[in-house]
């Protein structure tokens, strides 16, 4: 298979069709369809409780959808576990970061994928070296690869979670409010890292409550309201007023 040729023909890296998800009797997602192409940044916006995180969890295999289909590079997949999503080159930065707080940065970087050397012993040297290299590349300022996660600032922790995702992702990265807790400088840093994913031809689905950020980063914007897909717009062809109206359901006067 030729990846560049596929990108040219515009085959989406992720295609969601008629996704529906209910928790007990509560409908969390309805009739959701979306495509994300390689090197494209799609923003997912909507008010609190709109179902954005739920959607991310469906794509990443945490919650199976009640109905609907998911295709990765055109191949339909039953995304039934996080391991499966990762095997398909999908990485996620969860809203709660999913870091093991009392472990080191390098152990978190390799959580569940630790390399070993002879006799099945952990290859710490390799984990530390790769972590340091990556952290330097992304300019995530952490004290050291040996630092314990809970000794880090919010921005540093976010940096670790994003570094982990970008290190392992080969096709798609899902980011759930990656800058919600960050200061101005850290936010700019994260935006830079996300923008750089385009050059690696990785698809990005990013959730954000900051419309400034959404308009700065995204190619397309998908709006959710109370689990319903209100619409998808090309970022260049819309404006904040329209998106706000779609999010809130109120017409602008």
């Amino acid at each position: 298979m030729n990846a560049t040729a596929e990108a040219m023909t515009g085959r989406p890296v992720l295609a969601l069709k008629d996704i529906r998800k209910t928790f007990g009797g509560v409908v969390a997602i309805e009739n959701f369809s979306l495509e994300v192409h390689p090197g494209e940044i799609v923003a997912l916006v909507g008010d609190n409780g709109a179902g954005k995180s739920t959607l991310i969890k469906i794509i990443s295999g945490v919650h199976p959808p009640t109905s609907g289909s998911i295709a990765i590079e055109g191949e339909p997949v039953a995304m039934s576990s996080a391991t499966m999503a990762r095997a398909h080159g999908i990485e996620v930065v969860y809203q709660d970061l999913a870091l093991a707080d009392q472990q080191t940065v390098y152990m978190n970087m390799f959580l569940g994928r630790e390399p070993t050397k002879a006799f099945g012993l952990l290859d710490r040297r390799r984990m530390i070296d790769e972590t340091e290299k990556l952290v330097k590349e992304l300019d995530v300022r952490i004290p050291s690869a040996h630092a314990t996660i809970r000794d880090l600032s919010g921005g540093q922790r976010q940096g670790v979670a994003i570094a982990r995702a970008t290190h392992w992702a080969s096709k798609l990265i899902l980011l759930d409010e990656p800058t919600a807790a960050l200061g101005v400088a850290e936010t700019a840093k994260v935006e830079e890292i996300v923008a750089a994913l385009k050059t690696r031809n990785i698809g990005v689905l990013i959730i954000s409550h900051s419309l400034d950020q959404v308009f700065k980063l995204s190619d397309r914007i998908c709006v959710l309201r109370r689990g319903k897909q209100i619409g998808v717009r090309e970022t260049k062809k819309t404006d904040k007023n329209e998106i706000i109206a779609m999010i809130t359901g109120l017409q602008q006067s």
């Binding site: 472990q103 959580l111 000794d151 880090l152």
Partner: protein, 325 residues
């Protein structure tokens, strides 16, 4: 607010480089208690080679149970059933040995431990019951089983190969109980610190959801740690049977508190995510030394219990303080 989760994380800022008291408290404690007894009891024979090596021999079963408990607690669970697993395993080994010989006896002892671990593990990992309640129940259940099946009698262990191997024997001049302790600590330490298994146990105890989305099977890890703990409690039962040349329902009865104390003092967090096998070894030796010294000082059994209780309280206090920072 959507940012609450991440916002809570910001509190951690600026704590880098602080001294981690809990990690080293066991070594200071060990040294302080050693020096205290060495001075106070210098005329009562505390410092003799014989007494000191006795401490190590006597703590062997507790140390081995403590290794299992480090795995369990690191995964964020607890195993109280080890308190009665010891006796069940020793009795099963003793009875089986009488009719079928040594190897089936050993298999029966270890098998009982594994089986109890399996029962605990399935209930905790797959039925999703809290390990505290499950193992509290199996603790009582198997204490009852060992009493009723033996009519409170003691069962002699006469197989000399067995009592040598698990009790009074020696290899290269080193007593077998010390070999067992050393081997268990070495294997436990490597498994805990240097393998993916150990890393996954810690991840599960630290943040089960993070472990799960990282592809670690959380139920499997919970089952595994409880089975390790059960098997090691079974081994402790064999060591008791070997050293005392008999098995009785009382074996290991008083060890539970000692073992929990040793593990916590040794730097393993009650809530999981962090621990130390070497720390548990030193903690166990410290508890053994404490027992020994208090007896030599002439304290009554009830006074010993009070002092031990106070030490455990202090250890738990330090542990929880560390966790909440």
């Amino acid at each position: 607010m959507s940012s609450t989760n991440q916002g809570a994380a910001v509190r951690a800022a600026g704590l880098a480089g602080r001294v981690n008291l809990q990690q080293y408290v066991v070594y200071f404690g060990f040294l302080a208690i050693f020096l205290f007894f060495a001075i106070m009891l210098k005329d009562s024979g505390f410092l003799t080679v014989r007494n000191l090596s006795n401490i190590v021999l006597q703590t062997a079963p507790a140390t081995i149970m403590a290794i299992g408990l480090v795995f369990v607690m690191s995964a964020g669970e607890i195993d109280l059933s080890i308190g009665s697993t010891v006796a069940v395993a020793a009795l099963a080994a003793a009875v089986t040995m009488q009719s079928y010989g040594m190897v089936p006896g050993i298999a029966a002892g270890l098998g009982c431990g594994l089986l109890i671990g399996l029962v605990n593990g399935v209930l905790v990992a797959y039925v999703r019951l809290p390990s505290f309640l499950v193992t509290l129940a199996t603790l009582g259940l198997f204490a009852g089983v060992s009493r009723s099946l033996t009519d409170l009698r003691s069962i002699p262990v006469t197989n000399e190969t067995f009592t040598g191997f698990f009790g009074s024997g020696a290899l290269f001049g080193i007593p077998s109980l010390i070999w067992w302790t050393a081997i268990a600590v070495a294997i436990g330490h490597i498994l805990y610190r240097e393998t993916r298994f150990g890393a996954h146990v810690l991840a599960v105890g630290d943040n089960a959801r993070a472990a799960s989305v990282s592809g670690i099977s959380v139920p499997k890890m919970r089952l595994a740690v409880l089975m390790i703990s059960g098997a090691l409690a079974g081994l402790a039962g064999l060591l008791y049977a070997g050293r005392l040349q008999a098995a009785k329902y009382t074996l290991g009865e008083t060890d539970l508190m000692t073992v929990i104390a040793a593990v916590i003092v040794g730097g393993t967090l009650l809530n999981g995510g962090k621990g130390s096998i070497i720390g548990a070894l030193v903690g166990s030796l410290m508890m053994g030394m404490l027992n020994n010294g208090l007896i030599l000082m002439g304290l009554s059994v009830s006074d010993q219990m009070i002092v031990r209780g106070l030490i455990i309280l202090a250890a738990v206090a330090v542990s929880l303080r560390e966790k909440s920072r």
